[in-house]
Structure formats: C-alpha cells, structure tokens
Amino acid sequence: MDISIRIAGEAGQGVQSAGNLLVGALARTGFHVFTTKSYMSRIRGGLNWFDIRISDRELFAGREDPDLLVALTSEGLEILAPLMADGVVLFDGKEAKGAYAIPFTEAAKEAGNAIMANSVAAGAVFAVLGLDNIQLLNHLRIQFKSKSDELIEQNLRAARRGGELAASCAGRLEARPIDLGRDKVWAGSDAIGFGAVTAGVKFVTAYPMTPSTATLNYLAEVADDHGILVEQAEDEIAAVNMVCGSAYAGAPSMTVTSGGGFALMVEGVSLAGMLELPVVILLAQRPGPATGLPTRTAQADLQFAIYAGHGEFPKAVLAPGSHEECFSLARHAFALALEYQTPVIILTDQFLQDAEKNIEPPRADARPVDFHVVSVGGDYHRYSITDSGVSPRAVPGGEAFVVVDSDEHDSIGHISEDLLGDHIEQHNKRMRKGEGLTSRMLPPVELGHPDADNVMVCWGSSLGPCREAIDALIQAGEAWRLVHFAQVWPINGDLCRRHLRNPPRIVVVEGNSTGQFASILRQAGVIDKCEHCLRYDGLPFTAGYIVEQITGLSSRSTK
C-alpha cells in the first residue's frame, strides 16, 4: 500500500494548514507518513502544494505524482490533474470535469466559518481513503484543545460533513492502516535543531533566509527551555562574526543560512579557520545563482561550501541524508567543531528541511558533546604547536589571557609577520587538523547487494529517493548497491575506495547540473569513470525520476 495525496491551492489559502491537519491525523491513524512541500516565493496567490504519502512500509521520499489530488483552486485542478495517470481528484466547488466537486468552503460556512474548509477537506480525504474518521476527530480535538468547546464542535461537524459529501467516492483508494504508533512528525529542519540542542548549543544567531529559517524558528521556539539565546542578526556577515565572538567566549554557537547568505558569510568562515574557532553553520541549499529559486531545492552549493573561505584552512562538511541523520550529524558537527576548533558546515536543502516524517523520536536524553575547553593559568599560548595541530583552548574570563588575531600570529596569538617562523609553523599546525578530520571521516553507508555490479552513489538528501530507487530496481531483478556519503568533506580516499570497490558501473545521483560530487570523488582518486543522474529543475529527487533516468542511461549505453 502506497498512497500519495496532494493538497493544492493558492498561497495564503490554507494549503499548509490543511496539510498539517491531515499529516497529524494520518500519523495518528497508524501509517508511515512522509511529506514534501512545493511552494512559490510569495505570500498570496500562485499555486502551492503539499504532498502527503502514506504507507504500511517505511517511506524515504515523496513521489512525482499523486493518487489523490485535492484542488482548492481551478488553477490547481487545471495544472495538476492532467499529470495524473489515474487516481481521484477532489475540487472545492459545485462542478468540475473529471473531478468530484465537493464544496468544502460552502460546507465550512454552514458549519460555522469558511476557515474550517480544511476540516471539511480532511473529512473528505478520510472518506476517499476508506478510513474511519475517529483519529481525525481525535486529532482535531487535540489540535484545538486550547480553543472553545463550540469551535471544537464546529470543526468536528465540518470534518463529518466532509465525509458525507465524499460519499460518492468513498473508499476509492484503499488505505490499510498499521498500528505504527508514531503520532509526531519531524521536519528535517527541526531534527537538525534538536540535534544542536542536545549537543549543547547555547548561542544561535542568523538573518532569516528560506529554507534555513525553519531551523532558526525551531531553535527560537525551544530556546527558553534549554537556556539558549537566539538573536536575529542585522545581516549574515554580522551573524557569522557574532558566532565567532561567542565561540571565542566559550558558548557552543551556530548560525543558519542559505545560498546568498552563506556567500556573505564566507569571509567569516575563513576567520573561524584562522582563529581556530568551533563554529557550526547550517547551509540549507536552494537553487541559485543569486536569488535563484528561493523556495525550491538543489544540491548545487556543494563545491562552494567545501571551498568556502579565502586561504587554506581545514573544515568539515556534513550532509544528512535522512531525518535521523539530521539529528545525529548536527550533534557530530558540534563534536567535530569543538574537538578540531574549526568551522563545520551542515549541508542540507529545501527538500529535507521541509520534508516531514513520523520517525522514531530522536533521543532527548542524548548528552551534550565534549566542549574541549581547558582551564589553565600563567603563561598561556592559545596557539601552542602540537602534533595534532589542536592547541588546548581556554576561553576569556579565567586565569589565562586568550589572544586571537585574524592576521597571522605567533603561538600567543599576537600579530606576526615572521614568515619562516610563526607563519609556516602556524599554517602547518592548522593544516594538521585537516589530516585529523580526514582520518576521522564518517564511512559511507552501504545498502543493497554487497557484490552488485551496479553501484549508485549519493550524498546528502538524495539518500531517501536513491534508497527507494534501488529497492525498485532490485525488485525488477537488477543487482544494485547504494553508497551514501554523509560526510562530503574532507574525503579519505583509502576509506572511500574500500567502500566503492571499483565496480563496473557507477551512477552518481545529485541535485545539480555539473556532477559536483562526482568531481570531488574523482579528484580524490575514489572513482574514475561514472555516469551521472542529475536533477536541477528545483524539485526533489524521487525514486520514479531516478529509475527513469537510469533506465534511460542504460538503454543509451547499450545502443
């Protein structure tokens, strides 16, 4: 069982609220739920949609086309209904060709208020899916528990009315719930935020930018409960420099941004490298260049992130591939940044930021990571030369005086132009930390047949769609293996070669037009020849898209 439901309408019309209501109610009914969002960069008008996929098996991505379309506007109907091979279409109105016309808004007005059209629509969807509406009604009671009894009653009435109005198409799609028992859905953005919280983040500052803002909002929401200070910066340059200041002073610190905002931060990334500050930056990608497509998705800032910052200094770039990795890699980012005293970038994108899934809840009791702060006195040298390149880090306010300088400096931290002495010694010391980061690279994750001749390679958010794609290919009788990279920089060539094992066919799947990660792997000597499966239309990968592309690739190569 695998059903995808699409709610479509104008911005500001309640697509989001209708989606949220259904997601909550369907999760509560006992399904595996996975959602994706497609919206335009505007406050009103346009055409936005919210896809909710439900199954009795775990889901890792969305699908290209839905089985059930709920069109709240005629544009939604005209543009999206023709994309469906079959399935059911509901339209908010009196009549519509090829669709079940159900007057959601009208019925909501009769129930008390047009705003409850969402509840009517949800009731209708439950009917189409042949589901008992008991969990929908429960969810409405919980969602509105702080509101008046009258309002709750009106919403329940609206939901029941939706079910009645959909009587003619009731049970058209057969959804069989399992008793999964996971009511709460997590967005990737929230899982990253929660990972940061459990790691021990204390200071967060950012300038709002889609799609990173969702994480900022999450952190602001939970800040008071965890003693975290969240401040909106005047711009991204301020944000990254504030984070450098707070990290210097000893607070685990983080900023979040997207494309152009990260471009503004780049000098600050270099500063964190030079000052050897544990700074964590969430870079949530969207298509560029410039303002690009602000609300869409892409994996096109990989090389930009890896090479961000003038001069040479070590950094790590981590790219979560699932909600679970959003949580665990946010923690790992803090652990690495604090241990190696250098910037760590978490590279995600609109798809994974906004995608919701009812995962097994992340561990709230996960312990904070080691802050690696020493308490020393006397003759303290912030940049003492060590084998690992990591110098014991004290923070100001204690016995030690802590001196840091963006100019090249001596081991104390004072400005120095001693080229062969301080400069070379300090440069080599910094770069030795990069060797540590390389040797500690997170091993790629392997899925599928261990000895398959066909190997799919992915990084970051493409993991979910690729995972479903190899399942489909294996079911079709092909032998496939998937190798997923959660750490995309630095690359440990020996380790990666052990996981790739030089198969006859490699397809690298990534959301850009130039095969950026394939270049990184080639440069590190991990792969030689490979095929590319790319997507850069602003929409997320799906298994359907990948399988179609790969089938096309193989038919082309056999000609």
Partner: protein
C-alpha cells in the same frame, strides 16, 4: 626569510595620534581597576585596530575582520556578559566597512564600549578618504575632492538612543582618560569618538587643527537632554565640542534577555 627582527612594535608613525590613545587607555584601565582577566579588547583591521596588541600588561584580545569588530564583540558579550568588552578601532573600520553593525548595535544598546579612533582618513591603505573626511578633502583617489557629506557619528548615536555618546581628543590625556573611564561604566552601548591626527596622510586635520578647535562641553549641558545633545552634535568647524554629548535611560540589551537572568551562556 626571517622577518622577525623587522617586525617591530608598534607599526604606527612617530607622532601618530594613536600613541595618545594608547597612553590614555593604559592609564584608564589602571585607574578604573578593570580586572584584566575579564577585559576583552576587540578590534577590526586598520592601524587603530592594532592597539590591543600594544597595551601595557595583559588582556584578552579578539582582533577580527575589517569592519566586523562590533558583531564579534556582540557575540562575546552575549556569551559572557560578565566580561568588560571594549572595541577599539578606526573610523574606516567602524563607520565605513562596519557601518551597518554600528547602527544595529546602537539600536540593540548592547553593553559594549566602542572607542572609535577618528583621523578622517584611511592610514593603512595609504591615504584615501574616510567616512568622516570633510567635504572637499583632496586625496590621490578623491582627486576632485570628497563630495560625500561626512558621517556624523555623534548625531547618529543620539538618534539611535545609545546609552552613552561622547567625544574626546587624543591630545588631551586627562580628558580622554576620563571619557574612557566613564564609557566603561555604562550598562548599554557606549560610543566614544576620539579625534586624532594622521601625521602622514592627513595634512589638513593636523594636531594643531584639532587643538585649536576642541572645546569642552559646557558643564551646564544636561546629557539626558536629547534635543540639546543633537544641537551639540551638529557643531563642527571652528568649534568642536568634546565631552559627554548624550546619555540615555534605556536599559542595556543583555539586561532584557530572560536567558541571561540566571547566569551567562558559559556558566
């Protein structure tokens, strides 16, 4: 090549106004009994921004990027508001490259204390106009003279309602030291602009040019009188007022943050 011997301290020209500022600062931290372990000097880039490296005795130092001293200082103060955070940097760094940060730090009224060395010219990049250069000021780059109006920091800070707005002169040791001590007592944002000559690149606003014009503010001036303070801030030319222009009753930013009520972010 070993340049260690050539890398002398300080990097300032003989007669530079920065020497007066350094001397007054050394005296101010002594006289005010500032706990040096809790003192953090933050600067950006420029000749003025090197001051933290040259002070007598020790302090914590964050010498960051050009124009970005204020956000770094803001981060430090928010992480540990028990620290005394002093920003010391030049007019190009603070009013030019970092102008936006100055504006918003004053709006926040964050408890950092900024000493802006204002010599009305760029020194380290060798003689271009600064945001405070007078109209008509000739340089190699501004060969037809400066056409932009000079940035009026005193007025901007009064309008932004910063806690403390003052001006002093590098050639008046006692006055400058007193202003520094006053600034470091402030709960919110303190802007202390320090007029100083650049002996190499500014042949107009020389030591004697300033000396002839600076005049202590009439003790009858009430610094809580915003309109009166603004009137003083617009005076520039034959007479340049020095002293405390303005004080605000607005609380400092940190005192309004619930999360900092029970301690610092590092405690």
């Amino acid at each position: 090549m070993n340049l260690a011997k050539a890398d002398t301290k300080p990097a300032w020209c003989p007669g530079c106004g920065n020497f007066g500022i350094l001397k007054a600062f050394n005296a101010a931290i002594e006289e005010a009994h500032v706990d040096r372990r809790r003192l953090v000097l933050v600067s950006g880039i420029g000749q003025a921004a090197k001051l933290p490296h040259y002070i007598d005795g020790n302090a914590n130092v964050f010498n960051g990027l050009h124009g970005r001293a204020i956000p770094a200082a803001t981060g430090i103060k928010l992480a540990n508001h028990s620290l005394e955070v002093v920003v010391t940097s030049g007019d190009g760094d603070m009013y030019g490259e970092g102008g936006n940060h100055l504006l918003h730090a004053m709006r926040r009224n964050i408890g950092i204390h900024c000493f802006v060395h204002n010599n009305q010219v760029y020194g380290l990049t060798k003689g271009q106009a600064s945001p405070t250069s007078d109209s008509g000021f000739m340089t190699l780059l501004q060969s037809h003279g400066v056409m932009s109006a000079p940035f009026q920091a005193m007025a901007a800070a009064i309008v932004a309602d910063a806690s403390f707005v003052a001006r002093s002169f590098s050639g008046d040791f006692e006055h400058l030291k007193a202003m520094m001590i006053e600034a470091m007592k402030v709960d919110g944002f303190a802007l202390l602009e320090i007029l100083q000559p650049c002996v190499t690149f500014n042949k107009v606003n020389t030591f004697s040019w300033y000396r002839q014009r600076v005049k202590p503010i009439d003790p009858a001036h009430d610094p809580y009188d915003r309109a009166g303070a603004l009137e003083l801030a617009f005076r520039w030319g034959d007479e340049i007022p020095i002293g405390v222009y303005y004080r605000s009753k607005r609380p400092g930013f940190e005192s309004q943050l619930p999360v900092l009520k029970t301690g610092t972010l590092v405690s």
